[in-house]
């Protein structure tokens, strides 16, 4: 954390790395702009305010919106953030920038391929489509280019992770007795669970979906590929969230004028995410036939315990802000809140993102509950929930911190902090209106993922207000969010357009009140935690996967019979789980 010796902005310290991060950020912002436009068009289409295209094509909007925002926008941004975190905290450049540009290129090419396949869906003249949404459940089929693009993108992200590991390995050989600096620790643990979890989707895409879309195999199993998707599909949520958490831990305290409350607890939190992120995915399949109730219950317990690191984070992060506020003269139980730097969009955006995440935590708790899932499954409630998590906790944090990163990466002053503040507030208000209405609509049964939620023959029974009013709330909220995105992009463009200054604060991150010296050494034992993570994944997934293959064969009913050994495994496993569940019930 001794950054004094190497003062200056990030661009001054690491010009080559700054260029990579800048490029990744710009890629991410392009995705953000297009994705946000798709979002606005979707809102208008669903609510029947403006329908530019036939409803059959709505699902290409939706696919583009989801893929561009949750994969492209967030992952391009976060590889930039982690690259910043690793290089800054180790105080050393990446090992080989050609390698770095290599993974960036792979991710960019992958995105373009998938994007072309999706956009093909809008034009009859292009024999290509990928209206399979972000979850691409087989037997819905996309053009091979979509699956190939996805695979390249994911491989690119793995190579990025390896890049950070290479830096750490090199640093460790020179500093054998030092603790892993916290930001690097966070990037590495996140990389580890990302690689473990994305194995699921990689197998699904490379072994089944891609050969099938090329006509090499005749059929694939709907339940198996779906389960493999969710093997990755929940952990990916934490892949987006962890960089936001990292920024809350290492950036927010500094901007509040204080120090991180506890380095050891931050490490505990990231270790918990490493070991618990993946063995929870089946909670997206609570209502799937073909998966035993016992498996669902086990996964629910894992999911509930995954709340713990987030709840701990809430405390540590708020306490760090409070520390800053009190150092700035804040007093009282709540009065200290006034002493925080609300004028700064970096702070205001992150703090409001955190506040919305607290609300998202609640709907997430509901989603994690096994039987209550009957109430909310596949309704608009779910969409309301993840627009608070990825759509605000992550997206708003990324946008707010851009106001800090961009000057660091370009040596240019942010174009207008006032516009920045207006932008983050607009996002907050827009999302409040939109997600509140989505949650409430979901409770009365309004489905997600549909071009026309208006059906003839029945009405939704709205408890408070009217359906029209809820829809109006979504329309206004969606519009405000779109305006907010435009403001954000304007600030970015104008900033990049500006001229360089040399009055910028030096690169750095928050110091800690309780430092790594208080953290037990075992926390830094990444091999141990990875081993535990793998064991937990095997425990949570071996039996459900074996059971699916045992019941349905590798390629689905009507396809090939399952291998003998799997039947034996399933029989034994099922007996164990049944007796375990018998004890619970």
């Amino acid at each position: 954390m001794s950054l004094g010796a190497n003062s200056g902005t990030y661009l001054d310290q690491f010009p080559g790395e700054a260029k990579v991060i800048r490029t990744a950020f710009y890629s991410s912002f392009i995705a953000l702009g297009i994705g946000a436009l798709m979002g606005l068009l979707q809102v208008f289409h669903r609510l029947d305010i403006l329908r530019l295209i036939p409803s059959e094509d709505y699902y290409s909007y939706l696919t583009l919106h989801a893929v561009l925002l949750v994969l492209t926008f967030s992952i391009f941004f976060l590889v930039g953030v982690f690259t910043w975190a690793v290089t800054t905290s180790l105080d050393r450049g990446l090992e080989d920038l050609r390698y770095t540009w290599g993974w960036y290129g792979l991710m960019a090419v992958g995105t373009l391929m998938a994007g072309v396949a999706i956009i093909g869906g809008f034009f009859d003249s292009i024999p290509m489509s990928a209206a399979v949404l972000y979850t691409f459940y087989a037997p819905l089929q996309a053009h091979p280019l979509f699956y190939l693009g996805l695979a390249l993108f994911i491989v690119g992200s793995w190579l990025a992770g390896l890049d950070w590991f290479r830096s750490w390995w090199a640093w460790r050989s020179e500093n054998p007795d030092e603790r892993i600096p916290l930001p690097t620790f966070m990037a590495l643990t996140t990389t580890l669970f990302w690689i473990i979890s994305s194995m699921g989707v990689a197998i699904s895409v490379v072994v089944f979906l891609l050969p099938w879309s090329l006509g090499l195999i005749g059929q694939v199993d709907a339940l198996l590929t779906r389960t493999l998707f969710w093997f990755f599909g929940h952990a990916v949520v934490y892949f987006w969230l962890m960089p936001a958490y990292m920024l809350w831990y290492v950036m927010l305290p500094k901007i509040s004028g204080g120090k991180l409350f506890s380095d050891p607890l931050a490490r505990v939190v990231f270790v918990l995410f490493l070991i618990l992120s993946t063995p929870t995915g089946i909670h997206h399949q609570y209502l799937d036939p073909g998966i035993a109730e016992g498996f669902k219950f086990i996964v629910m317990v894992n999911t509930m315990f995954l709340l713990l690191p987030s709840l701990l984070t809430a405390f540590t992060v708020v306490a760090s802000m409070e520390h800053g506020a009190r150092q700035r003269g804040g007093t009282g139980y709540f009065g200290w809140l006034r002493a925080l730097p609300w004028r700064d969009p970096v702070f205001a955006g992150m703090a409001l993102a955190g506040l919305m995440f607290a609300a998202a935590g609640f709907s997430g708790m509901i989603n994690a509950g096994m039987n209550i899932n009957y109430l909310v499954h596949n309704t608009w409630w779910i969409v309301g929930h993840f627009h608070l998590t990825i759509g605000t906790a992550v997206a708003l944090t990324f946008m707010a911190t851009t106001y800090w990163f961009l000057p660091q990466l370009t040596n240019k002053e942010i174009w207008s902090k006032s516009v920045g503040l207006a932008q983050v507030l607009l996002w907050f208000v827009g999302m409040t209106l939109m997600s509140n209405a989505m949650h409430r609509s979901g409770l009365v049964g309004v489905p997600r993922r549909t071009a026309e939620p208006q059906y003839s023959g029945f009405d939704y029974e709205v408890a408070a207000g009217s359906m029209a009013e809820l829809n109006m709330q979504v329309a206004i909220g969606g519009t405000l969010l779109f305006i907010s995105t435009l403001l954000f992009l304007t600030v970015v463009v104008m900033t990049v357009w500006g001229s360089k200054v040399d009055t910028l604060p030096a690169n750095g991150y928050a110091e800690t009140l309780s430092g790594p010296e208080d953290a037990p050494l075992v926390l830094d034992n990444l091999k141990l935690w990875t081993a535990i993570a793998v064991v937990l994944v095997v425990l949570a997934y071996a039996l459900p996967l074996a059971s699916i293959i045992g019941r349905r064969g590798l390629f689905g009913p009507g396809g090939s019979p399952s291998p003998q050994f799997i039947d034996t495994l399933v029989f034994t496993g099922q007996a164990i789980v049944d007796s375990a569940v018998g004890v619970i019930r």
Binding site: V318, E322, H323, G329, Y333, G361, I366, L375
Partner: protein, 54 residues
């Protein structure tokens, strides 16, 4: 940034009582909402008894 600091507060002299207050409020809200969602919204819904094989 440090120019705005009025005082330096170390680890041992810092009790985050404001955080404790905020987070206690959060705890109460979450608990009440959970009970409401489960017992009123979910169990009070129509066609509730799903599954139980008669």
């Amino acid at each position: 940034m440090s120019s705005k600091l009025q005082r330096e507060i170390g680890h041992d002299e810092f009790d985050p009582k404001g955080t404790l207050a905020l987070i206690t409020i959060y705890f109460v809200i979450i608990s009440v909402l959970w009970i409401f969602m489960y017992f009123v919204e979910f169990l009070g819904n129509d066609l509730t008894v799903v599954g139980a094989i008669a």
